[in-house]
């Protein structure tokens, strides 16, 4: 029943997403654009990596932010204000199926987007194939799951679909800035580096790079040590745990801030 309902909600969301121009741009067009942006960058080295691939792997994490977090924050807000969430909650659908169904749509899209971005890296930038594909896939899925309750929580303090752009923006700036998705933080003070490393998108970027390049980017400074397939799992373990930790925090925030009914009700 739960699985069936989750799939029904996911299918509903997918139908709607293909019809809504803004949603289509946020989740389908923009992420591909992000990946494509790196195509011109075939010279230069950052952290011992070709700059194009360094950015591409960072974008891989940011794509998850847009496809899941930014989209769902706006979706949950609009659905709440339109009383769709209330209607759903007044039905046989469980709360997990309602929120999880929308999350599932995003997860599937994120996985496909990740495959597209990786293809851009391999074909367009002449990079090697990812060293640990299962780890990469797991990270993409866990990241998407992590963002569902966090988006639910942020939607609770967002008034309308339009104002979601305003509430999401500061989160984007903080998460993108602290994650080393686009630029390293090696020259920053120790405290800033430690705080940055604890933010939600940082472990995503770290683990994606471990999986893609087969190097342990959490170990000291460049050049980072190469790790084999088995070692890459243990190198990724702390990052994966941090992602799970943020998922738990997200659930707690969502319990506190998420609303089923319009804010002015």
């Amino acid at each position: 029943m739960l699985l069936e309902h989750t799939l029904k909600v996911a299918r509903l969301d997918f139908t709607v997403l293909l019809r809504n121009r803004t949603a289509f741009f946020t989740t389908i067009a923009f992420p591909v654009l992000l990946g494509g942006m790196t195509l011109g960058l075939d010279e230069g080295v950052v952290e011992g990596l070709p700059v194009g691939l360094y950015l591409l792997t960072g974008m891989l994490a940011l794509v998850g932010f847009f496809v899941t977090f930014a989209y769902l924050t706006s979706l949950f807000t609009v659905r709440r204000e339109d009383l769709v969430l209330k209607r759903m909650r007044g039905s046989l659908l469980s709360e997990v199926a309602i929120l999880g169904g929308s999350g599932l749509t995003c997860t599937v899209i994120y996985v496909v987007q990740a495959a597209v971005v990786v293809t851009i890296g391999v074909v367009g930038l002449g990079g090697a194939a990812p060293r640990n594909v299962p780890l990469l896939l797991l990270t993409v899925v866990l990241t998407s799951i992590m963002f569902v309750p966090l988006a639910a929580a942020l939607s609770g303090v967002t008034r309308t679909g339009e104002s979601a752009q305003i509430t999401v923006l500061p989160v984007l700036l903080v998460l993108a800035g602290t994650s080393q998705a686009a630029f390293p933080l090696g020259d920053m003070p120790e405290l800033v580096q430690r705080l940055s490393a604890a933010m939600p998108l940082s472990p995503v970027v770290d683990v994606i790079r471990i999986a893609y390049f087969g190097r342990d980017f959490t170990d000291g400074t460049a050049p980072y040590p190469a790790v084999g397939f088995a070692e890459s799992w243990s190198a990724a373990a702390p990052g994966l745990l941090l992602i799970l930790g943020w998922t738990v925090v997200g659930v707690l925030f969502a319990r506190r801030y998420f609303r089923w009914e319009p804010r002015n009700a």
Binding site: L12, R87, G90, L92
Partner: protein, 341 residues
């Protein structure tokens, strides 16, 4: 366990319906799991006892009690802000009561909502649609969610006269059409209990009439219905019993005939010029162009007052033009309650 024969004695509607429907009703009763027919609520489909509900400091519902029998249509009337929607939302399980107890089919509507939702239908006051979906897609989605699917999408749309709108995005429907779509969704599962929050608001007279007949059919099939409305005609057409709410309390309840009878009859005539109207037993007339006396609910007292009024007219050699004695209308009762400070 109540014998089936006794079960429909308290369902007045059943005593006038045809034998087929009685059989159907009995079958439904017998298939209910035993545990869901606790002795305290055997008989009543809905029981509300001393319900209080507040939003912050504002007490929206201030201690109301009522029961709704199976197969009955119970209407909650009142002005905006009277507490109707709050009450129905507690029954629907959207809110927990601040205090008091509420049972629907013997279950707690909030705590047992997962079990109850398979047996109840809810029509919200407005909204709740995904505008990008078509009418047919909307019905299909909500139908797919149900464990049992007694109606096809086409049947559900035909029932509310929306068959020709099947391919139209919900966003493009008029307010009244959305209300009809909502009714189709609320009744998709053929629920035992149906909650309708202002079901005909925004409808043109023809759509309203057609919706009333749809609701009539549901009640004839044995559905228990609670509806809120501020259209008095709607209550008069549909309701077996009503409760008029004002300021979070029930000010009058019962059948429309009994609610109206409690308010007694009144006499009205064109106020003669230059004459002071008499005071009858301390009751003075309300005046405008027409003078009106409330004669009270007690027939003997009313008769006495009426006689003395006519005596006064004879004594003063007055002919009371447009003289009329009538019982209170539902509108009279409603307005008196609404204007009572």
């Amino acid at each position: 366990m109540t014998p089936p024969g006794a079960a429909h004695d308290d369902v007045t509607r059943m005593t006038v319906s045809d034998p087929d429907r009685e059989d159907k009703w009995m079958t439904e009763q017998q298939t209910l799991p035993r545990t869901e027919r606790s002795p305290a609520t055997a008989g009543a489909a809905i029981t509300v006892r001393d319900l209080h509900q507040r939003y912050g400091d504002f007490e929206a519902v201030r201690g109301i009690s009522f029961e709704v029998q199976p197969g009955e249509l119970f209407a909650l009337l009142g002005t905006n802000g009277a507490g109707k929607t709050t009450t129905i939302e507690v029954l629907e399980g959207f809110r927990t009561p601040a205090s008091g107890s509420v049972r629907v089919l013997g279950l707690d509507p909030h705590a047992d909502r997962a079990r109850l939702r398979a047996r109840t239908g809810v029509m919200l006051q407005d909204g709740g649609f995904v505008g990008d979906l078509t009418v047919a897609e909307t019905v299909r989605f909500w139908r797919d969610v149900l464990p049992r699917r007694p109606q096809t999408v086409d049947e559900a749309l035909a029932r509310v006269d929306l068959a020709d709108k099947a391919k139209v995005p919900v966003r493009q429907l008029s307010g009244g059409q959305k209300r009809r779509l909502d009714l189709a969704l609320a009744t998709l599962a053929r629920p035992e209990v149906l909650f309708l929050d202002e079901p005909t608001t925004g409808m043109d007279p023809e759509a309203r009439r057609s919706t009333w007949s749809t609701i009539h059919e549901l009640v004839d099939d044995g559905t228990t219905v609670v509806l809120t409305t501020h259209y008095l005609e709607e209550a008069e057409r549909l309701a077996d019993r009503i409760a008029i709410m004002h300021g979070g309390r029930i000010s009058a309840t019962g059948t429309i005939a009994s609610v109206v009878a409690e308010r007694g009859s009144r006499v009205r005539f064109l106020a003669p010029e230059g004459v002071h109207l008499p005071v009858l037993d301390g009751i003075s007339a309300t005046t405008g162009d027409l003078a009106e006396y409330h004669l009270g609910a007690d027939p003997a007292a009313a008769q006495d007052r009426l006689r003395r009024l006519l005596d006064w007219a004879d004594t003063n050699r007055l002919v009371l033009d447009r003289f009329e004695v009538r019982s209170a209308s539902l509108e009279d009762v409603f307005l008196e309650i609404a204007h009572a400070a």
